[in-house]
Structure formats: C-alpha cells, structure tokens
C-alpha cells in the first residue's frame, strides 16, 4: 500500500511523504541566500528567465512584507505569492490590534503556522516553498527560515534551493559575527555568484535595514558583481 498519495496518512516509519516531497520541490528550486550582519540583513535570490524573450528585470522574488520586513523563498513561485500576501495582511492586522510592528519571530511563526495547516488538511497539498524572513526586532537583526513541514528556526546565515549545500559550506567558512552592511552584501553576492550561471542579470538583492528596505536596482547589482569578481 502506498503511503504517499494522501497527505493525511503517516507511513509505517513515521514519515509524511507528501511533506517530504514538498521539501524535494524546494530542493529543486532556484538558490536563495540570507546573511545576517550587525546592522543589516541581506537577502539574495537567483532569478532564471525561461527564454531570452522574457524580461528578467520584472521578476521580483524578494517580497516586501512591511516597511522593514522582507521575505524570499526557494520553490514554487506561485505558492510564495500567496503566502506573502497572507503574511502582509497579518502584519497590518497586528498593527491595528497592537499599534506596534510585529516582531520578526511572530511573523516567521505565523508563516510557518500557515505552512503547517496544509500538512494536516485532506484534499489540499503543502506549500512547495521554504522561506527566508528577514527584519529587525528590538533593534536587532533577525533571519528566520521556514519549510513546508511548518518548522521555523532562526539562522545567522543560510541558503535554500538547488545548490544550498555548496553555499552553506561557503557561508560556514566565511560568515562571522558583526558584519557591516557592505561586507555582508559582498559575502552574499559572492555566495550567489558561485552558483548562479551568467552573473548579474540573474541575481536579485535586497538589504533590510532597521527602518527600511533597499532593493538594489540592475546597475547597483552589476556594480556589486564587478567588485566581487575583482576581489577574488
């Protein structure tokens, strides 16, 4: 008997196969990187165009959830859009009730709760994405990761997707506590450039500072990739 066709069925050795398969979908997704610095968090994502005719500039894979909170992902693009919109709504609702910005871990827990709901519901499938949520709480930068099973944890630097292991090894070697924004940005760019084919057009970068988010435009990304290439 196959235990992997229905979501709400455990296998004899205690696995939920649909959730595992969702995590496979994430592993096949395009690479994304998050690096926590001292005064900023950097999120970087790989963008891939389906053909030369597609305008890669218009693909936006880092979602702004609030004025100083951003999210990126690896996995199914459309699922990310839905989850991002739900989280944006939750941010604003929280502000109506509590007159204060939600903390990053509240939002990360909320996102992971949404993902968990779909690991227990029959007739629906799990979200095929793992997310990286970055923002500031109590003036401290925080980076969280969620996955299709609904697990949520805080990270200093991490990566998801196709070449995640390679990038994580690189980050383990080179990340250190207290990176300034510029250094963190260079580290993220270098990590991505190692795994992304044909450089700058296929990278999206976002810097999350205490009170704002800076989405680097095409020229700024190009400049950064040039600097990173020179540093090697």
């Amino acid at each position: 008997m196959s235990y992997d066709t229905a979501l709400t069925v455990f296998s004899p050795d205690g696995q939920l196969f649909q959730v595992e398969y969702a995590m496979e979908a994430v592993k096949r997704g395009l690479c994304c990187v998050g690096v926590r610095g001292k005064d900023a968090i950097i999120l970087g994502v790989e963008k891939k165009s389906a053909s030369r005719l597609q305008d890669v500039k218009t693909i936006k894979k880092v979602y702004q959830l609030d004025h100083n909170l951003c999210m990126t992902f690896s996995g199914l693009n459309a699922d990310a859009r839905i989850l991002a919109n739900q989280t944006r709504l939750q941010c604003q609702q929280y502000k109506i009730y509590y007159e204060d910005d939600p903390s990053v871990d509240y939002i990360a827990k909320f996102t992971s709760q949404q993902q968990q709901k779909f690991t227990q519901r029959g007739g629906a499938r799990p979200y095929g994405i793992s997310t990286l949520i970055a923002g500031f709480s109590n003036n401290k930068p925080k980076l969280f990761q969620t996955d299709p099973s609904g697990a949520c944890s805080e990270w200093k630097a991490t990566s998801l997707g196709k070449s995640a292991k390679q990038v994580k090894d690189f980050l383990e070697k080179h990340w250190r506590e207290g990176l300034h924004e510029k250094d963190a940005l260079l580290l993220t760019t270098k990590a991505l450039m190692d795994v992304v084919e044909s450089g700058n057009k296929n990278i999206e970068l976002c810097v999350i500072r205490k009170n704002e988010c800076w989405f680097l435009n095409e020229n700024e990304v190009e400049e950064l990739t040039k600097i990173t290439a020179q540093l090697q």
């Binding site: 702004q64 004025h67 919109n85 944006r88 709504l89 604003q92 502000k95 109506i96």
Partner: protein
C-alpha cells in the same frame, strides 16, 4: 463639533483641524491631531466621533499600506480617494452600519500635482480646491471662496488658513483655541500648531 478645512494651491495642499476633544460640557484635550498621515505625501483629516474617527483612520491607513505592499507600488491621490470612498460605500449597508465620520483627503502626487478630496460618511466623493467638514462649513466656505485664487503660493495659502482660524475663533460658539495645520508639498509634510 470638529472643524476640518483645507485648500489646494499651485503645488501644495493644506488641511487644518481644530485640536479639541469635548465630552458634554468638558474639554478633554486641546491638542488632538485629527489629520492622519497616510504616507509621506498624503494626509487625511477626519471629523466625527472620536472612536469612529480613530478606527476608520486606522483601517484606511493599514489597508493603504497593505495595498502598497501587495501591488509593490505607489497609489496616487485619485486611487487613494476612490479607495477610501469604496470603504465608506461598502459600510453603509453592512451589519455595523456606516462609518460615522467625514474627511478631507489631500496630497501631492509624485509628479507634483496637488489634489484635495471631500469625502463623507455615505460615500460621497468630490475633488475640490477648497472646502470644509463639520460646523466649519457654515463659517468658512464663503471666506474660502472669496480668498481663493488659482495657483496660490504656500505663503498665501497659510495666510488664508490663518484668516479662517480667526473667523472661527471670532464667530463660532464653541471656543477652539488650538489648530493643527499640515501642508503637503512635493518635499513632504510639514506640520505646525496655530
């Protein structure tokens, strides 16, 4: 009992409000800011019962933020005014009833064009160059009509607002001592108390 009034100039919009909150014969506060900042270039002066004013203002502000993040962009004044109007209109036949507050929405678009909109609790929307909500209507419309001319400068606008305040303080039965004035230009929002 609130007075909200405003006018649109050549490259700016001014909205002014009285600062008093009263409960029966008691004046609780004189420095209440009834002009909500929706974003760096939009302000929304709301007149009505305290609770309705606050809660409607909150809902408008948060929904405005939500739409901005969802669409990844910027709502101009016309879109914002129609959006606020639709919130009023949806409420009037809802279970909780209409939002019991009126408003003046003003601001400057990214290309520098100023606009001022008059909104009321039933969902009326009108683009205006000068207007008022509340009792201020009875006292100030004539004065605003008389003093207004197209392409006013910021200084001329402030002078007209000062005349309006003087008129209210002279002729309006309810003493309103402090007024909060907010001006939106392409550079942003300035606020001061008169």
């Amino acid at each position: 009992m609130d007075s909200i009034f405003g006018l649109q100039g050549g490259d700016f919009v001014i909205v002014a409000c009285d600062g008093s909150i009263a409960h029966s014969i008691l004046k609780i506060k004189e420095t209440e800011d009834k002009i909500l900042k929706l974003d760096d270039h939009k302000i929304f002066g709301i007149s009505g019962e305290g609770a309705d004013r606050n809660s409607f203002g909150e809902i408008v502000h948060k929904n405005h933020c939500l739409i901005r993040y969802k669409t990844g962009g910027y709502m101009n004044l016309q879109e914002t005014a129609h959006f606020v109007r639709s919130m009023y209109a949806q409420a009037i036949r809802s279970r909780d009833g209409p939002h019991q507050c009126n408003g003046l929405l003003g601001g400057v678009d990214s290309d520098g064009t100023p606009s001022l909109y008059w909104l009321d609790y039933l969902g009326s929307l009108q683009k205006i160059t000068r207007g008022a909500q509340g009792y201020a209507n009875y006292f100030l419309l004539g004065l605003l009509d008389n003093q207004y001319k197209p392409n006013l400068t910021k200084e001329e606008g402030i002078e007209i607002i000062k005349k309006c305040i003087k008129e209210l303080q002279t002729r309006f039965l309810i003493a309103q001592n402090k007024f909060i004035v907010k001006i939106v230009t392409k550079q942003g929002i300035e606020a001061f108390t008169i």
